[in-house]
């Protein structure tokens, strides 16, 4: 069954933009606590540009929409989040190239995205980065029936709570060492909104 169409993908990006705008201050606040304080601003700007871009182009495939999104994020977000999210969407796009996106293709694309984040960020699981959330989501999709995609958000939330008490060892938050404890990683939080938006649009009910 096709789970993600061009229309879904465009709506996915719009739903992400909506959430990034809505939670801009929260993300920035999280980032001020353990980073350099621009995550909300960067993510809101980045996805605003993505939506502006994809609404002006006619696409032939889901792969092309995601490629557009990836290139825009890389060019407009900056810092470490731009390359990380850019890589994730680019790897998804590559995995979907020439294919219709059924459950199997989507799960493979998620796996490739996670591998891409892993390679790009050089972070391991449990280092309090957005990789933790993406890895858990990919593992969940591999194990569970697709009809259970609502459960995906619980997995994200649980991961974020689990990592709250961790000491960051990668990224800017790692400079703070022990002081990063007790704070939510801003990248994990923005990743949550990306998956929340996905669950909103993806065709998992039929």
């Amino acid at each position: 069954m096709i789970v993600l169409t061009i229309e879904h993908t465009k709506r996915w990006m719009e739903e992400i933009e909506k959430r990034m705008l809505e939670h801009k201050d929260q993300l920035t606040e999280f980032d001020q606590a353990i980073g350099d304080g621009d995550h909300g601003i960067n993510m809101a700007r980045g996805f605003h540009e993505v939506v502006a871009k994809i609404n002006h182009v006619t696409y032939d495939s889901v792969s092309d929409v995601l490629k557009s999104a990836a290139m825009t994020l890389m060019a407009k977000v900056g810092g470490a989040s731009g390359p990380l999210y850019g890589t994730a969407f680019l790897k998804m796009s590559m995995a979907m190239q020439g294919k219709e996106v059924n459950e199997e293709v989507f799960c493979q694309a998620m796996k490739d995205a996670v591998d891409g984040i892993h390679t790009r960020g050089k972070a391991e699981f449990g280092e309090k980065t957005l990789y933790d959330v993406w890895k858990q989501v990919a593992d969940f999709l591999e194990l569970e029936e697709v009809a259970e995609w609502q459960g995906l958000l619980e997995v994200c939330q649980a991961t974020i709570e689990d990592t709250r008490e961790l000491v960051a060892t990668k990224g800017r938050a790692s400079y703070l060492k022990e002081r990063s404890k007790g704070h939510v990683d801003p990248g994990s939080m923005s990743s949550f909104y990306i998956f929340e938006a996905l669950v909103e649009v993806i065709d998992w009910e039929e």
Binding site: M74, G78, G82, P83, G86, G121, T169, R172, S174, Y175
Partner: protein
């Protein structure tokens, strides 16, 4: 905040245009980018050297574009890595068929953005290699940090790699000599006052009237400790001791760079260098060449860094090869 700017959003754009206006015969800005290239690039058969990073470190990096040094410099927003699309444009513009070497300062964002650009260029069939400079001895290399930061020592890497490429070496050879330089160069800085980002409008941190921060980063990141200000000779000794502990004692020939961070008068930099020369002489080391001035600044920060490069014959030759850039002279 008092700054000579028009609009904080346009500082990088307007600076780059001003730079090219001052050097129209040597430099060119790629249209619709923040990339400055040698006017005669690409040079057929020569390895292209591309560097760059956040703005606010002027004359780095565009000041080092020219014959015998960089072929292109990519400017990011102030203290923010340039994005892969911009770096890719630079790579494409300077590839003369022999490949391109990227010289990256070791910051998470810079490394990721340059690596992405490298992969994108390779997908387009351009041969690309990269090296990461990590000369700052202030930040320890451990599992709890991303490793040492790249600071003023990067300028020596630009010079050596640029000279090697100009001499017609292969990409592999240029990369090897760049890595040899990275392994032999160590730096450390001190701040007497903070810096103010145009967009932020207020200082990044504050130092009391009688305070200095040892081991400061070039974006105002924390150093090792905040202590009472002491004399130029004493500060110099503190920095040099830490740097020399990381330098191979076998090598007696060294190059020196005393680099101002933005608001320290040349007079004070030369006072520092007097002490550097004395300490090195007392240790039986031979100062082959010295550069004193501003090379890798941190906006309007007061303070300086010292860089020591231990030399072998090959590096000596490359270091003094002819060069024609805005900001680096031999």
């Amino acid at each position: 905040m008092k700054k000579v700017i028009n609009n904080a959003e346009h500082v990088v754009d307007q600076m780059l245009d001003g730079l090219v206006s001052a050097h129209p015969d040597e430099l060119k800005r790629l249209p619709d980018t923040t990339v400055i290239i040698r006017k005669d690039a690409p040079i057929k058969g020569k390895v292209g050297i591309v560097s760059g990073g956040g703005s606010g470190h002027e004359p780095a990096h565009a000041g080092f574009v020219g014959r015998g040094m960089l072929d292109a410099a990519v400017a990011g927003e102030v203290f923010t890595s340039p994005t892969p699309d911009q770096i890719l444009e630079a790579i494409k513009a300077v590839d003369g068929g022999a490949g391109v070497l990227l010289v990256i300062k070791n910051y998470t964002g810079d490394v990721m953005n340059f690596e992405m650009a490298q992969e994108m260029a390779e997908m387009e069939g351009i041969q690309v290699a990269s090296v990461v400079v990590n000369d700052d001895v202030a930040v320890e290399d451990s599992t709890f940090t991303i490793g040492r930061r790249g600071i003023a020592g990067t300028v020596f890497v630009h010079k050596v790699a640029g000279a090697k490429a100009e001499a017609g070496a292969t990409l592999e050879e240029v990369k090897a000599v760049a890595n040899q330089t990275i392994a032999s160069v160590r730096s450390m800085g001190v701040a007497l006052s903070s810096c103010t980002l145009p967009a932020a409008g207020k200082p990044s941190f504050t130092l009391a009237e009688n305070e200095m921060e040892i081991g400061i980063g070039i974006h105002g990141e924390p150093g090792i400790e905040r202590v009472a200000l002491v004399s130029a000779d004493e500060i110099t000794t503190i920095l040099l001791n830490k740097i020399l502990a990381e330098i191979d004692e076998e090598s007696s020939d060294v190059a020196v760079m005393v680099n101002g961070l933005g608001s320290t008068p040349e007079m004070e930099l030369h006072i520092v260098n007097k002490k550097v020369a004395e300490v090195l002489r007392d240790k039986g080391m031979n100062v082959y060449r010295t550069w004193v001035g501003e090379y890798m600044t941190s906006l309007d920060m007061a303070g300086f860094s010292i860089t020591i490069l231990s030399l072998n014959e090959g590096l000596m030759e490359l270091l003094v090869e002819d060069v024609k850039t805005v900001a680096f002279h031999v």
